[in-house]
Symmetry: D2
Subunit: 278 residues, 4 copies
């Protein structure tokens, strides 16, 4: 039976790229089930993703493609399978809980290797699901010291993605660099509105009629990373900021879940400060 | 400190109803924090809901109001507090899991007295949260025999609402009558589209671009009860029916959760086959 | 046959307000068809709106109410009827065109007294519908001189609301004061995101997945007035900023139209920098 | 300067199709700016759309592709340019008006050749925009006689698409056959809910909380054609069916407009009773 693979390629644009890629795949007897391609006119970058069926020597295929494509090409060929993730959180349970339930019900295309938090509050919840919980308190530690301890924990695992499920601490560039383009955060506002602390309070004070949530790749600039997914819910004058916060939990967890699914299916490309989602 | 109460009244419409109600509340020194009123022109019914603050003898107040209002008036005065609910389910965990996590995180304005299911599949999940689980198998039983057993279980509890969190069996009129207007179901389609079995397959075959979910009060007519809440998500040609089913889980649980919140806050009136939501 | 009236009241909150209002209406033999009431806990303000049926001496009723209610009460009693509006615009036709078509089809609960613009570009369109068009060029004029000329035009009319249908000039406090709380603007972003010039370009550069539009009451602070209505549409990486601008036109005109309807039906209260929409 | 072309291909799926297509395009020195491909697993059909840049002999390229691709292949190569459309309507002006305004403002990628109606009600509106209006009354005519007269009018024009902007008569299979897969209708409900007459009344009586509109390709089966686009708006108990009808006009015209844009950009494939939208 044929296996399924994902081919992701991005490189400088030039004529004939689709031809060269599809020629290589065809020669190897592979069938393209679906593909999308996009050229960013501004940056002159080419993005390609295909789902293919067949028997693949992934390394060999990557090398073949490398020879034909422009020098700076990023080529990722991976079998469709479960990814390995770490979830980081602080005190709030809604986003984490959603991920735990999905994982328990086999609705998440990922293994949760561990949950890491700066508090022990969510430990009882996580342990119900027999998932290792690492409480790394930041108490009396500098940001660097604290992250060093977390990085030690993480170093034990082979991680595809880190999910910040309401992890309420800022990460240093060093940490971000260690898992570049692999850390996904949920921000509890419709970015770029209400950057910073307590966006629901800001939203309440501005009197908006819609609030939202934004899942993004984490970069060095807080709340400024490439956006993966956003969604909104409607509010009205009867909502105090705590009502907004409460109502916002549903949209936060849904947006994070959608963004995570996109990551787990290798559907996200980073294009400067933006994403391309195929 | 003042307590908060909900006053819900529905009756035949006539002039002066708001006056009579507010006069009674004012005499008792109560303050109306918010109210909504609606007259259905078609049925000539009057619906009123107020949130009030003060010290209330609920029974005395109800009697006072009864004297002044039309004979068939329904008057409900209740302190704002946690309701007691039973969750019923079959095999799927997403809607149940969402309720369990919210309950665990104190985000649900309700106590879950028990979970009742016709399978034992979800027992390990429920017991993680130390909530009683009653597995009442329908195997080799007639519908009536099965329900009799369930009703025996339920009779041990003082129940405000029964939540059908993907309980996949049809309830008899006798069962429905026992908890009239207090059973909330989530249907996995945008009713009245795709009534009946496997709505996602129907949706896929029709080629719709939007799928949805509908929470409704359960009545004798399957999928025909008063609608409380609906929501939708977008799909496209890349979705097979199992993809729709998978994607639909998020909207199912969100819609059920929203409908349940409305019920727990006494915001739902039944008006024939419709709801009025204040 | 009974006429329909709107009663709008806002004042400092105190006990018994609904009672006093409904008592007065009942004495006059009026029937409340629908009402909503809201108390803002923060500002301790009371807001009330009712639709009533009967024969009303509006001035007499307002005086009666004034006697019973707190001193600073704003009381508006008006028959349900068409309002008189002025539309202001610059060069873009989509929002204006939508209003013109609705007006032509008798779908707008308003008479368009005139269209005022700082360009003559839209004159041919407006004159197709036999509506007076005043082109008041700002060329070689200071902002004050220009507005003086516009105010001269407006002074000929008895105006309920001024609709800024993509009028791309900033109004001075003097102008705003002249039609306080009666000027409705559509801003082409999901405020408070992308305040200022070319929000679509800002949105494109930030890589958002959702764009929106915001209708608000115009105040002295640009883009900071009380929000009436907001809505959004989804975009993706294939949208350049001009595509966003193009796609945004539909949401802009829909949001403006919805906000205008709310104003025409006297459903908007101003509460500091927020609106209350009943 | 390079021109832009659209290449649309659908055929039975087999290995190497993308390779063969891209090889042909590459040989001709053409650059693929964007492409999407999809294989329907159920029907084993292959769908491909690319936007390309370069100098093209469209007929020559089509022939070259024909030789390499499976026998039943549909190949459409067309320069990106304005399409020619006919709008058909009956009495309601909102969908027609929206198209007229967009056309006037150069926001529609189409020329409106004429408007055809079975009433003269909308003639004054259409003539404001100097577009030919053909009133073909159905009075005292059989459906076949009436359509014969309309087809006579249409035969004068070279038509890319016919837009039914609330044309309230059923078309015969003969008429549909004449413009197969080129007639776009807006249905005023969220299909397949509320098929048939007065969907808003049906929606009101069912007590739904969401209403919608559906744009679809017209086939012989009324309201059963492939769906292009759908959208929804929220309603509540305060909406009578006429309020729903009124509110629905905005969503009807927006959905029709979006579907028309997809058609004008050659983004729609028909796949049995479904569409594939790239």
């Amino acid at each position: 039976m044929d296996r399924k693979y994902i081919v992701k390629i991005d490189c400088d644009d030039e004529k004939g790229l689709v031809y060269k890629i599809s020629q290589t795949l065809f020669k190897d007897g592979l069938n393209i089930v679906a593909n999308r391609e996009f050229v960013d006119i501004q940056t002159k970058k080419f993005f390609f993703r295909a789902e293919i069926k067949g028997d693949i020597d992934t390394e060999g295929l990557a090398n073949e493609l490398k020879k034909k494509l422009p020098q700076n090409s990023n080529i990722l060929i991976s079998e469709k399978k479960k990814k390995d993730i770490i979830v980081m959180c602080t005190k709030e349970s809604h986003a984490l809980g959603d991920i735990l339930i999905k994982h328990y019900s086999d609705e998440l295309n990922a293994n949760i290797l561990a949950v890491v938090s700066n508090y022990d509050i969510l430990q009882p919840l996580v342990e119900k699901f027999d998932i290792p919980y690492y409480c790394v308190s930041h108490k009396d530690l500098s940001r660097e010291e604290h992250e060093k301890k977390i990085l030690e924990v993480l170093s034990k695992f082979d991680i595809d993605f880190i999910v910040l499920a309401k992890y309420m601490r800022i990460l240093t560039p060093k940490f971000v660099k260690s898992y570049e383009n692999r850390i996904i955060n949920i921000h509890h506002s419709f970015l770029p509105a209400f950057i910073g602390a307590n966006p629901y309070k800001q939203a309440y004070e501005r009197g908006v009629k819609i609030i939202g949530a934004t899942a993004h790749i984490v970069t060095d600039n807080l709340d400024e990373g490439p956006i993966i997914a956003q969604d909104i819910i409607r509010v009205d004058h009867t909502y105090g900021w705590r009502d907004m916060q409460f109502a916002g939990k549903n949209v936060e967890k849904t947006v994070l879940s959608n963004a995570l699914n996109l990551a787990l299916e290798d559907k996200i490309f980073i294009n400067g400060n933006k994403t391309i989602i195929f």
